[in-house]
Amino acid sequence: MSAAAHEPQARMHFAAFSGVPVLLGITVLLFALHIAVGAKPLPLGTVLEAIFARDATVFDHMIIWDLRLPRALIALAVGASLAVSGALMQGVTRNPLADPGILGLMAGASFAVVVTAFFFGTAPLVFLPWIAAAGALVAALVVYFIALWAPGGATPLTLTLSGAAITAFLSAIISIAHLLNEDSFENLRVWLSGSLAGRDIEMLYITGPWIAVGLLVAFSLARQVTALAMGDDVAKGLGVKTGWLKAQLLITVVVLTACAVALAGPMGFVGLVIPHVVRLFVGSDYRWIVPYSAILGAAYLLGVDIIARIAIAPREISTGIITAMVGAPVFIHLVRMRAR
């Protein structure tokens, strides 16, 4: 981190600022493109027209408003939430391998949703994010303590392994629940593969405000995360109340992850990849890492979802499959780098 930090500060900040409009531009472009492509390709002009001058009688406008716009918005929200969760987790655990998927939060969230559905039938949509959040929170704590109790403590390696173990365990139970109640699980099945297809815009209305709150809290805590990333003692020395900060961060991460899972199902490796890419450009200051992760995460998931829809058209690949294909090699690279 020191190499980047000792760069001339002014130039770095300028560079950091200047990236924002570029990245936002790219995101907007991808957003429009995302809406334009599909089974019936629509010209960008129609897309803009539909958004800014909606005519409910035009069939293309209906497609855009009822199908494509929700999906694009969901991709945007999920990408931003997961990337910011990942960034915060990496900062607070000082673990470059941290990601809501790798550390078991997604499995916990999915598990909670499935178990609820199993015992109480389909719960009202409003509760879904909260059930997911409870599952994610419990899983996060279990993973953390398993790693902590391992001799050597909660190192990136033990955290990752206990995350993988918990994920394997919960997935097995989820699969069994599936088999036992196949019919009512058909909806959940698509959801569990981490797909953005056919998602309900209702859910976005429910989770949207929470995602917004979560992102705002993340932005406001980012400065302290930078201190925390240098070690608990350093942070304390700088006047950060580490215990309280960690609790806030944990809640933020859990809420963001749960909302993302409720929206799109488990989507692996987004939270791992994006913060690392961001770090290449803005260094180790979380005041920059967090907002950039949000924008890049949104752009990334839009891009991936475009590929998911057009790669083997007319069929569709689950978006989660592609994020895993991209993310797993990054993960491998990080493990190798860490080991030097």
Partner: protein, 358 residues
């Protein structure tokens, strides 16, 4: 047979005249072999009686001895339950031996073929074959699986090898997890891409289910067992000195270099053949060698036998439970072994972490 002075009484020393055969074996482990074998037979017996069509044990035995009680019972026992139960036991033993070999060669108690991507590699190769060349004969599957699995094993080994420090146990597993995530995502993509019918046949196989095992499957498994088991038993002496590190093993005159490759190939072969028939079966390779060690301490040779028995017993039992617990719905054995395996993995992780910090 003779017991000699200076040997603790919990061992028997077997020496033929001329000392062609001269072994020192722990009594407890020998007893354990007997007990496990009896238990395995018992589980197989029970397994034959349980199902949607309940059959008395006596009737089962009568049927197995060749007397036809009724055509229906004959059919159920001979065509469905017996091959399935045998396949479960064989697959369990093979996954267990694969885990044992891999743990030895990586000196890593956490190594398991399904954890480090070897099973996934086999699965990917088979799915690819199902989707790309649907007409391919069934018996080719193990060989396709073997090449996929071997490729992945080589990849993980190459990725995790560090020049001076050799292999680190936990890094090896982590890389395996990364590689298996990558391979699984490709498999899923292939399944999406492939024809739905074929994809579904591949999908049911991917859950690690022994439901449909036939006599052909048992034959294939048996042939691979017959080829690989003597190899692994022949290597146990070298595995024994390899436990103390490569340098010590070289000093004692073990041909370490080629044995490394041989052990990896044997481990991959067992896992690939088992995976080709019933799909990836999680955590058996992790559980069985550990359980065998817990049941009775012994040299590597006897431990290998115990490991195979533990694996066979575990999967036979998992299959039985998966079949009976929520009947008529069948839970694949792979899910049950995963649920048992994860807590054990967590337990082992705590100790492996301690060692890697030496």
């Amino acid at each position: 047979m003779s017991t000699s002075a200076g040997t603790a009484s919990d061992h028997v020393v077997i020496r033929s005249r001329g000392e062609r055969v001269a072994l020192r074996l722990p009594v407890r482990a020998l007893v354990a072999v007997g007990v496990l074998a009896v238990l395995l037979l018992a589980v197989i017996g029970v397994s034959l009686t349980v199902g949607s069509y309940g059959i008395e044990l006596e009737t089962v035995i009568t049927t197995l001895t060749g007397t036809t009680v009724s055509d229906a019972i004959d059919n159920v026992v001979w065509q469905f339950r017996f091959p399935r139960t045998l396949a479960a036991a064989l697959v369990g033993a093979m996954m267990a031996l694969s885990g044992g070999a891999l743990q030895n060669v990586t000196r890593n108690g956490l190594a398991d073929p399904s954890l480090v991507g070897i099973s996934q590699g086999a699965a990917l190769a088979v799915v690819f074959a199902i989707v790309a060349a649907p007409g391919l004969d069934y018996s080719w599957r193990p060989i396709i699986a073997f090449s996929g699995a071997l490729a992945v094993a080589t990849l993980v080994q190459a990725l995790s090898y560090q020049r001076r420090r050799g292999n680190n146990a936990i890094r090896f597993i982590l890389l395996g997890i990364g590689v298996s995530a990558f391979i699984s995502s490709i498999t899923s993509a292939l399944l999406t891409y492939g024809d739905i019918d074929r994809a579904i046949s591949a999908l049911s196989w991917l859950a690690g289910s022994i439901n449909a095992a036939s006599w052909t499957d048992v034959q294939i498994l048996f042939v691979w067992c017959v080829v690989l088991s003597p190899l692994v038993l022949g290597l146990t002496r070298i595995m024994s000195v390899l436990r103390m590190g490569e340098d010590t093993a070289v000093g004692l005159g073990a041909p370490v270099k080629w044995v490394r490759y041989a052990l990896i190939c044997v481990g991959v072969g067992f896992a690939a053949a088992a995976t080709a028939i019933v799909g990836p079966l999680g955590f058996v390779g992790l559980l069985a060698p550990h359980a065998a060690r817990r049941i009775a301490r012994s040299g590597v040779g006897l431990h290998t036998v115990l490991t195979a028995l533990c694996g066979a017993l575990l999967v036979a039992l998992a299959d039985l439970v998966g079949r009976a617990a929520f009947a008529p719905i069948q839970i694949p054995a792979g899910l049950i072994t995963a649920i048992i395996g994860v807590p054990v993995f967590v337990y082992l992780l705590q100790r492996a972490a301690a060692k890697s910090h030496l």
